[in-house]
C-alpha cells in the first residue's frame, strides 16, 4: 500500500476531506473506536499486518500510523 492510498483510506475512515499527515488525530471527532477498528482491518487486509487497537489509539498522527503499518514514502 502506498502512502497516498493510505491517506485516501484514512480520510474516508475519519470522514474528512483534508488530512495532513502531521495533524493531531485526537483533534478529529471521528477518530473513535470504530475508526480504530477500521484502521486495524485496513492494516490486515492491505498491509498483511496485525496491529493492536492500543497501538493504533496511541498514534498521534497519520505519520505515526504509517510507521506502525510499515508504509514507506513511495508513490
Amino acid at each position: 500500500m502506498t502512502k497516498q492510498e493510505f491517506m485516501d483510506e484514512l480520510k474516508e475512515i475519519l470522514e474528512v476531506d483534508e488530512l495532513d499527515e502531521s495533524q493531531k488525530l485526537s483533534e478529529i471527532d471521528e477518530f473513535d473506536s470504530l475508526a480504530v477498528m477500521s484502521i486495524t482491518a485496513l492494516a490486515f487486509s492491505k498491509c498483511n499486518k496485525k496491529v493492536s487497537g492500543d497501538k493504533v489509539k496511541a498514534a498521534a498522527t497519520a505519520c505515526d500510523l504509517m510507521a506502525l503499518l510499515g508504509i514507506e514514502e513511495l508513490s
Partner: protein, 320 residues
C-alpha cells in the same frame, strides 16, 4: 446414527434499547453512525428480574407448542449467565419444562461459538447412541454484565434465547465440523471478577470488558483457515454452499469477513438490525429469520460459523 436440525425457535425480551434511547443517555452517542457502520438500530434487553434461564423456559415453551416435550432425552444449555454458580441451570430447566426425568442435562459455558459447539455435542450424543432427541438451548443476558457508562458495548449486545431440536434422521444433515480454541485471547472479552480467580471489588473488573480491535484481528486471522478446513472436511467447494451464516457480531466485521473470504453477497446472511449481538443465539435466530424470509429452504447447504469469546471458534455445514 444420522441426525438433523428439525426445529428452531427464539424469543426476545420485551424491553428495548434503541439507538435513540442511547442518545438520550449519552449525548455524544452517534446513532446514525452506529446504524450505518454496525447495522444495529435496537436491541432487546432482559427485565431486571428476568434471567437467561427465564428466557430459556419461554423459548422452549414456544417450541413445545408444536413438539412433544416428552420425546426429549437430552438437554444442552449454552449460557454464560447461569442463575447460580451451582446447581446446573439445565437441571432447573428440566424441572421447569416438566421434561422426563430420564434424560441427561448439562450447561456448557460458551458464547459466540456456542450454537455450533452445541450442534457438535448433539451430533456426538446421537452418533454414540446416547440420545435420539436433543434439545439445544442458547440463552444469554450480557446486558447485565455491562457497566452503566459502557455505551460502546451497550450499542452492540442484546439479550435473547433460542431453542433447537436435533434428532435422528434417515440421512445425515449435520455434517463435519472444524473447531478451534485459542486461550491466549481470553483477556480480550472477559468479566474478570466474581469467579474463583478474582472476587468482585466494585471496580471496572466487575463488568464486561471487550477489546474490539483485538477480537476483530482474531476473527480476520482465524476465519479463513476455519472456513477452508470445514469445506475440505465436507468435500465441498465454496461455490457449492448455498448460504453462509456467521455469528452476527456486527455488520462491519461481517462485511470485512465476507470480502476477505470472497463470499458472494447474496449468499452471506446479515441481520442484526433489531436484535444486536445476542452471543450464542445469533446463529439460530439468523437461521429462523432466513427461513421465515424464504431465503433458506429445506435441502439447502448452509455453512455456520461461530467465533468469539475464549477465543473459541467453530464451523459446520448443515443440510437445512
Amino acid at each position: 446414527m444420522p441426525c438433523r436440525l428439525t426445529k428452531i425457535e427464539y424469543c426476545l425480551p420485551e424491553r428495548m434499547r434503541t439507538n435513540r434511547d442511547l442518545g438520550n443517555v449519552f449525548p455524544d452517542f452517534k446513532a446514525e453512525k452506529i446504524e450505518k457502520k454496525i447495522g444495529i438500530v435496537s436491541r432487546h434487553i432482559a427485565a431486571d428480574t428476568e434471567t437467561a434461564l427465564d428466557m430459556a423456559e419461554k423459548v422452549c415453551a414456544r417450541l413445545f407448542s408444536h413438539y412433544d416435550r416428552q420425546r426429549i432425552d437430552y438437554l444442552l444449555l449454552c449460557t454464560q449467565s447461569p442463575d447460580y454458580f451451582l446447581p446446573t441451570s439445565a437441571c432447573i430447566l428440566q424441572d421447569r419444562l416438566q421434561l422426563s426425568r430420564n434424560i441427561g442435562a448439562l450447561d456448557f459455558n460458551l458464547g459466540c461459538s456456542g450454537f455450533v459447539y452445541g450442534l457438535s455435542l448433539a451430533k456426538g450424543l446421537i452418533a454414540a447412541g446416547i440420545a435420539e432427541h436433543v434439545l439445544l438451548v442458547t440463552a444469554e443476558t450480557y446486558s447485565k454484565y455491562l457497566a452503566p457508562d459502557d455505551k460502546g458495548n451497550m450499542s452492540l449486545f442484546g439479550d435473547a434465547a433460542a431453542a433447537a431440536v436435533i434428532e435422528t434422521h434417515d440421512t445425515e444433515c449435520i455434517h463435519s465440523f472444524s473447531l478451534g480454541t485459542d486461550g491466549r485471547g481470553f483477556p480480550n472479552l472477559i468479566v474478570a471478577n466474581g469467579g474463583s480467580r478474582s472476587p468482585k471489588d466494585g471496580g471496572a473488573g466487575d463488568f464486561l470488558f471487550m477489546d474490539g480491535p483485538e477480537i476483530f484481528n482474531f476473527a480476520l486471522e482465524a476465519l479463513p483457515p476455519l472456513i477452508n478446513d470445514v469445506l475440505r472436511k465436507n468435500n465441498l467447494k465454496k461455490e457449492e454452499v448455498d448460504h453462509f451464516i456467521f455469528h452476527q457480531a456486527n455488520r462491519y466485521m461481517l462485511n470485512s469477513l465476507q470480502k476477505l473470504l470472497e463470499i458472494p453477497e447474496e449468499k452471506f446472511y446479515i441481520n442484526l438490525h433489531d436484535t444486536g449481538n445476542t452471543v450464542s443465539s445469533t446463529i439460530p435466530i439468523a437461521l429462523k429469520q432466513a427461513e421465515a424470509d424464504g431465503i433458506i429452504k429445506p435441502g439447502d447447504k448452509v455453512l455456520l460459523a461461530g467465533f468469539g469469546v475464549g477465543y473459541s471458534y467453530g464451523a459446520t455445514i448443515i443440510t437445512f
